[in-house]
Symmetry: C2
Subunit: 369 residues, 2 copies
C-alpha cells in the first residue's frame, strides 16, 4: 500500500518557510492549525539521530499566535487557564492548560507575557481564537483578540546555543528556560524564547513579518554549516520518549488537565476567574482516576498509531495508547497512553491491542529521557 | 518533485469509512476539521467524469456536527448567523453564513432544524464549536453545545435518487432540496437530506453511530453495482465550475458574507440578535466593494493553486484568485476569486499572476454550470 499524498490548497496554509522545506526535500507533512507542518525529511529515525547530536531548524509557523491586547488582557488570560498567572512577569513563558467550562482540555499552548495588557498564546492544534473571542464578546471585555502574522521558527538540538549565538550574539546564552528576550535581526525585532517541542534544548524565534523569514533561515543555515545544521521538524520518536504531549493525539476535550499529568500547572484554588474552575475543584482535591503514562511495548516495531489502542489487564480494559513508535536508542516501542489508577504504578505489566495483535507492555511513571 | 505524503495520527482523525476508502485505493487526502477527507481516487479528472455521469459515495464525516439542544437553542442559532431563522421549520436545512462581531466569516455550514430546541450545524473547516461554546457560556444561555458521533455520508451524482430509493425506499424521491427526513436503515434512524457539495444532485446521510457505517456503505455499493457506483469525494473541478465556495480557500475571517456573494443569505435588518449585525448593517446597505466571481484563465492547465494569486488590470492590483484548475468539459482553467467592483462585470479582461507567469483571464458573473 503506497502512502497517501497530501493535497495542498490555500486552506492548508503554506508558511514563509515552505519553500525552504521543499528545497530540503521534505517528504511528509501533517496539517496543524490549518497550516503545513513537516513531519519527515530523511527518515524519522535519521532525523531523530541528527536532532540528538546536532542542531535543526524547524518550521513551526503552525504554532499560530493569538495576541491579546487591551486593559482586560490579563483578565481574559486568567479566564482561559487554571494556572495562576498573578506571578507571571513580562519576559516569561508559561505552559498553560486551557479548559472549557467542564474542565475539558481545549488546547495546551505556551503563553508569552509582554505586559499586563499584552500577551501571545502560541497554540496547539485547535482554533482557540474562537473560544477566546467568544468569551471576550460574551463578557464584554475590553480587549482585542487576533491572529498576527508571526511565524515561529524553532532552533533545536545540543548545538542550538552555539548556532544562535553566532547569529544573535552571546546574549542568547543568557536567556533562561521559558524566558524570552526581544532580539534584533536585520533591523527586525522579535521575541526569542528558550523553549521548544524537544528535550534537546533550543530556542523558538517568533519571526515577525514574512519578509524576514527567508533571510533569517539562510543566515542560520550558513552560520551553522560546520555544526551540520539541517532542516528538521518535531520528531515523533523524540517527543514520545520525552513525554511531550500532543493535543488531539494524547488528549482531547474529553480529558482534564489532571488526567494529562498537568495538575502541576493548575492552581485551581487560587486561579479565580478561570472558566473551568468549578468543574476542576473536585478533581483537584480528589485527583484523577486515570492518568497519562509512558509505556514500553514489547516486540518488533509497532505499526503507525492512527487511532486509540485499548490497554487490558486480566482481560479488563484499563486504558488506551495514543502515540507509539519504535525507539532506536531505547530498543523498544516507546509510547504514551492513559491508564486507570489501579494499574498506573511504575512497572505494571499490561497488554496492548495493536492492529497487528496483542502485545505485552510495561507502565513507566517517568519518561524515557 | 514527488508529492509529499500525509502523516496520519490520531489527531488527523480517521472516520468509520476510512477503511472503505483504503479498499477503494484512495490516493490523496486533505485534513478537514482535524479529520481525513479523501481528495482523489482514480485521478481528479477521472473522478470528475464519473461524478457527472454516475453516482458516488463520499466519506464526508469531516463535516462534523455541532448539536445545539435546550430552551435557548434557537436564540444561540440566531446569534451565530445574519440569516433570519424565524421562518425555518423542522425538517429544513439552511445554508447559514456564520460571522464574528466584525462581520467576518467564521464558517459557512448547513444548519438542520429538528425542533425549536434542537439543531445540527454541519460545519466547514473551523472549530465553530469553540465560538458557539464561548457565546453560550458568556451569555449564560440555557443550551448544551456538543459534537455528537454523527458521520455524514454523501451520495452524489445523477443516479443518486435511483440508488438511494433502492436502499431507503421510494420515499427518498419525495425529499425536497434542502429538506431532510428521518429514515431507517437496519433499525437505525438517521436524518437524510437532499443536499451535498456538488451540483450533480444527491443526498447527505447523517450516519448516526459508527457501527452502522460499514453495513450502510456495503449495502449502497451492492445496490448500485449496475449504476457503476464508486467511492468518490468532493471534486476540485466540479466544485469550482459550480462556484461552491470552500471556507479557508475562497474566504476567511477577512471577508464579509456580502463579499462572498452570500448577501442573499443575510437578512441583516431582521436578524435581530446576530452577533455581527452592527458591523454588517452598513455593508448590507452600501454593498461590498469587492466580490466573489468565477474566472476563466487562458492557456494550458495552471499549476495547483496553493496560495492567493494576484489579479491585475492596467498594472493595478484589483483582486486575487483562490482556487483554480483545468476543466476538461469547459476546456479552460476554471477558477474562483475576489475582485474589486471596478472590474467585476461579466466579460472584463484581467491578468492573473500564477507561479508559471502572467495569464490573461475573463471575469464570469455566473458559474460554469
Amino acid at each position: 500500500m503506497t502512502a497517501p499524498i497530501l493535497s495542498i490548497s490555500r486552506r492548508t496554509r503554506e508558511t514563509p518557510f515552505t519553500s525552504m522545506n521543499r528545497d530540503a526535500a521534505v517528504k511528509g507533512y501533517t496539517v496543524y492549525n490549518h497550516m503545513l507542518l513537516p513531519t519527515v525529511f530523511e527518515s524519522i529515525e535519521a532525523d531523530y539521530h541528527h536532532l540528538k547530536r546536532h542542531v535543526q531548524l524547524w518550521d513551526v509557523a503552525c504554532e499560530r499566535q493569538i495576541e491579546i491586547r487591551g486593559p482586560d488582557a490579563a483578565r481574559l488570560m486568567q479566564m482561559l487557564t487554571p494556572r495562576d498567572l498573578r506571578g507571571m512577569t513580562p519576559g516569561q513563558c508559561y505552559y498553560v492548560p486551557i479548559v472549557d467550562e467542564t474542565g475539558g482540555m481545549m488546547n495546551d499552548p505556551v503563553a508569552l507575557k509582554f505586559s499586563d495588557d499584552r500577551f501571545y498564546i502560541s497554540i496547539a492544534d485547535s482554533d482557540l481564537l474562537f473560544w477566546a473571542k467568544g468569551l471576550a464578546y460574551g463578557f464584554r471585555l475590553d480587549v482585542d483578540v487576533n491572529e498576527p502574522d508571526v511565524f515561529p521558527l524553532a532552533v533545536q538540538g545540543p548545538q542550538a546555543d552555539e548556532l544562535m549565538a553566532r547569529v544573535f550574539g552571546d546574549q542568547v546564552r543568557a536567556i533562561k528556560f521559558f524566558r524570552f528576550s526581544m532580539l534584533s535581526f536585520e533591523g527586525h525585532e522579535m521575541p526569542v524564547a528558550r523553549s521548544g517541542y524537544s528535550k534537546q534544548g533550543g530556542f523558538e524565534i517568533y519571526v515577525t513579518g514574512a519578509e524576514i523569514a527567508g533571510p533569517l533561515w539562510a543566515r542560520l543555515m550558513q552560520a551553522g554549516e560546520d555544526l551540520q545544521v539541517r532542516a528538521g521538524c518535531p520528531n515523533l520518536i523524540e517527543r514520545i520518549e520525552g513525554r511531550l504531549l500532543s493535543y488531539g493525539n494524547d488528549m482531547t476535550r474529553e480529558n482534564t488537565p489532571h488526567e494529562c499529568g498537568l495538575g502541576r500547572f493548575c492552581d485551581t484554588q487560587t486561579a479565580i476567574g478561570c472558566v473551568g474552575r468549578d468543574a476542576l475543584l473536585r478533581v483537584a482535591s480528589e485527583g484523577p482516576v486515570r492518568q497519562i503514562r509512558n509505556f514500553s511495548i514489547d516486540g518488533d516495531a509497532v505499526p503507525p498509531c492512527t487511532a486509540l489502542w485499548p490497554v487490558f489487564a486480566d482481560g479488563e480494559r484499563v486504558g488506551r495508547i495514543s502515540s507509539a513508535v519504535w525507539s532506536p536508542d531505547f530498543k523498544t516501542n516507546v509510547s504514551i497512553g492513559m491508564i486507570r489508577m489501579t494499574h498506573w504504578k511504575d512497572g505494571t505489566r499490561v497488554e496492548v491491542e495493536t492492529p497487528d495483535g496483542m502485545r505485552t507492555a510495561t507502565v513507566r511513571e517517568k519518561s524515557f529521557t
